[in-house]
Symmetry: C2
Subunit: 517 residues, 2 copies
């Protein structure tokens, strides 16, 4: 195949750089176009369900990683790196846990031309790889707590349709695995970590989340209880699991013989374990929530380029000298913002593209703040700005840029969060009559309902909400429980029944249900 070199002119005419569908009309296609055209990912042609993560994405991941690692360091949680492979031997130890993963395990059966004596699976998660060593290393209560985290990728050979970030056959994550002497200590850490995850969403990605506990049906297989962050995608009204922090109880420590002599009594006690993880999925959630018909919208704190300066007002009448002077000034602004305000700034001095083309390009890529600088601005000693997320425009005196621009980025960060938070709040509806449930779902709401917490009742609720839709000829997803929010809308009145009309039991807690990813 001959290469296809192109010039700037080719590019302008050949490539349709904008998003071709609206977010409202065709959300799945909109999403796919955004993540590709904003240069976040490429579909990996070689193997289905895998994606190339490009610098725009890796910058975001790396900012989250640095932030989280700093907190892990402060908490005294060590970094480790366990191997990529596990053998069928250790898998056999933890049937409950691994049953869910078995259909998705990728098996290495050959090295070079030779068949392996014992095939090995690529980790879908690392409990079975790590815990035999916890058993070895934890010999006394003095070795507790043992707290390790690793950053790696895991492989789950999905058979369902894959989607960039949200469901992929390989993804990046961190997985923390800790062991404690008591349930209380373990429980404290579960919440500490959940709060760090919440801050990643809220403070870095400007994404609102609801903190809560998973119901028995939805908790991690083999664990004790699961705390979760639940996000919300306005475009389709679905809930999406954001990150989870699990207390595994003593289930795994019994399977893997992780025990110490009881410092407070006789005999030995099995340790209390936690595991917690967040993955590149969070980036997909962020894209879905903030993006618009022009493309990606990035919160300033994780944007690789926070500010782009586009020189404007250059025409055929502009002399070469005037043009050079303008570009020099633009570059001075860039240098000042970088040096004095520590911002990530680019000047788009590309030849052969119109300012309008450049505006579209940077809007597509989600750069939070655009500064335009032309001869008129230069004369007035200002730069003109456009905020990406709300299209707000204005001017800033050049003398004030090092204070105004960082402040504006902070406001954008907060503004993005507030806007998303308001939307999420609007669509979290307290529902106390079963007949209102379907309407709420169709209104793209998540619902908070009085719920008995029983697993079979939960299954039934899913069925009931699926069926109703099908009868109307529009088969649609039933709702499932997302979490029991820590922040309950109110105290349940005594005697409140579970909302499921076919359930006789009393409600125990307000529980958030919804259609979901």
């Amino acid at each position: 195949m001959a290469p296809q070199p192109s010039t700037a002119v080719d590019r302008k005419s050949d490539e349709l750089i904008g998003i071709t569908v609206s977010k409202t009309e065709n959300f799945p296609q909109w999403y796919q176009e955004v993540v590709i055209k904003a240069e976040m990912v490429e579909y990996y042609g070689e193997v289905a369900g895998l994606f190339v993560l490009r610098p725009m994405t890796m910058f975001i991941w790396s900012e989250m990683r640095k932030w989280f690692q700093k907190h892990l360091d402060e908490m005294g949680i060590g970094e480790a790196s366990f191997p990529l492979f596990l053998s069928s031997k250790s898998l056999a130890k933890e049937q409950d846990h691994i049953e869910g993963f078995a259909p998705e395990l990728a098996w290495v059966t050959k090295a070079g031309e030779k068949n392996l004596d014992v095939p090995v699976a690529i980790r879908p998660t690392s409990e079975a790889i790590m815990y035999p060593y916890y058993s070895k290393w934890i010999r006394s209560h003095r070795d507790l707590p043992l707290r390790l985290n690793q950053w790696n990728s895991v492989v789950r050979w999905e058979t369902k349709q894959t989607t960039p970030f949200l469901r992929t056959r390989e993804f990046l994550w961190q997985e923390g695995h800790t062991a404690h002497l008591t349930e209380e200590e373990a429980g404290k850490e579960v919440l500490e970590i959940l709060e760090l995850y919440a801050k990643i969403y809220e403070d870095l990605l400007a994404v609102p989340v609801v903190r809560g506990r998973k119901t028995e049906n939805e908790r991690f297989a083999g664990g004790y209880y699961t705390m979760t962050l639940e996000g919300y995608i306005p475009s389709n009204g679905r809930g999406i699991q954001g990150a989870t922090s699990h207390c595994l109880g003593q289930n795994f420590s019994k399977m893997f013989d992780i025990a110490v002599q009881d410092p407070a009594g006789e005999g030995h006690v099995h340790v209390w374990q936690n595991s917690w993880a967040f993955s590149t999925r969070v980036i997909g959630v962020m894209v879905m929530i903030h993006g618009d018909d022009k493309g990606l919208v990035l919160p300033p704190r994780v944007a690789k380029i926070q500010v782009v300066i586009v020189p404007v007002g250059i025409s055929k009448k502009t002399t070469a000298e005037e043009k050079d002077q303008l570009l020099d000034q633009a570059d001075e602004i860039r240098a000042t913002l970088k040096k004095d305000a520590h911002l990530r700034v680019d000047v788009d001095a590309r030849e052969g593209y119109t300012p309008a083309w450049k505006f579209n390009d940077w809007e597509l890529k989600g750069v939070p703040l655009r500064l335009e600088f032309g001869p008129k601005d230069a004369m007035k000693g200002v730069v003109s700005y456009t905020q990406r997320y709300n299209n707000e425009k204005g001017t800033i005196p050049i003398t004030e840029i090092t204070t105004t621009v960082p402040k504006m980025l902070e406001e954008i960060q907060k503004g993005m969060y507030s806007r998303a938070d308001a939307t999420f709040k609007e669509h979290r509806r307290v529902v106390t009559a079963w007949d209102d449930v379907m309407g709420a779902l169709d209104n793209k709401d998540l619902v908070l309902i009085p719920f008995c917490l029983d697993g079979k009742c939960e299954d039934q609720i899913k069925e009931l909400t699926t069926k109703v839709e099908e009868e109307q000829g529009a088969p649609s997803m039933g709702m499932k429980s997302l979490c029991i929010p820590f922040e309950q809308p109110s105290a349940l009145e005594e005697g409140t029944k579970c909302l499921n009309p076919e359930c006789e039991k009393l409600a125990k807690q307000w529980t958030m249900f919804g259609r979901s990813y």
Copy 2:
């Protein structure tokens, strides 16, 4: 299997914590004991040739990673993450390159219970995974340079004996892959990166290296030329490759159709590519060079714990109050060093262990500086210190610790480098008579010899130096070329012959040969 909890007392009697062989007597076993007993790695029982990297190791890796990443950021090299798998299809494109890796490829042939239609290999390196996208993304010379780096792990199913860090079936590394318009630009980057790698060795790990160019026989398969850092292991007199920076020339860009329209002329030009990598192997080199019969010796800049404070002089006569006061003071010293000097400091207040036991334990783990603090020190207002690498002892006034301790750590860092550098220099021998070669090798020297640079001659030199040993009844490794050092010992006199007695050609450059890893 019942768990085997142990108390502190059990531990003292049951576990032999020290290294049981001397570095001189049995170097391979010494190395194995050090990396395990200093808690750097665990052998992974499930699958041979794989190792668990523990926090002590990951701290070192993470410090190197942060340092290198900072420089990549400054150079404008983006971070990416390409998938773990490649298919046989793309492998077929680059026969030369992949031939060397083929016997070591791990093949995934099954997902769950189903056989894959097309088996996929786990990356041994990512050229074949990445370059199809370089072809797609590089459409014009404006897209150049394209410079990406990724941090990941690669799998090479070694059939030879594996050794922690040095040869393992999975290892962590970074791989940089860049594309440039001209050979000159590519060449400049190759050297820039090599210099960064050299700084990692010299400034972080206190390990001396020789910068040079690989001979044709030893360069990267499929590449154009390879620059390298070569280290030296005094215990066995072997050279060890430290890190490599390759110019791939246009070989891969021709295979993968990565080309642009020539901005300076007619037609199109294939881009010039580089690839460069360093891996967890560097940690093994550091252990081998600095370690001693007591165990690991860590350079302060990469030590997870830089200073350990051990309370001493507590006897049966010490009252509880006196003891508490001493521990409080020790902790104050820790806090001061952390807060004011930003050092990584621990107090070893473990009950039930003697100071002597603790000294051994921290020496085994390589902590660069030990501070002892007892009632006598307290009375004099000093702390007693022992430097790990040279056993130097003395006292420091407590009022001066925040200036003296960081200064001392800097001196330790430099002292470790100087000592290792002196040893390496002693064992780099300029040899101008063939008859001196074997003696030098047996003296654990690397040799610098006049060499014709011919590949066949190089093969012959290896054979000749292997044979001689065998005749003497002690079969030993032949020498191979390590690099053509940038810093030549002298200008070769005109007419100097290649040192190989069976070679007729003239020498072209001084070349460093040696037995090697």
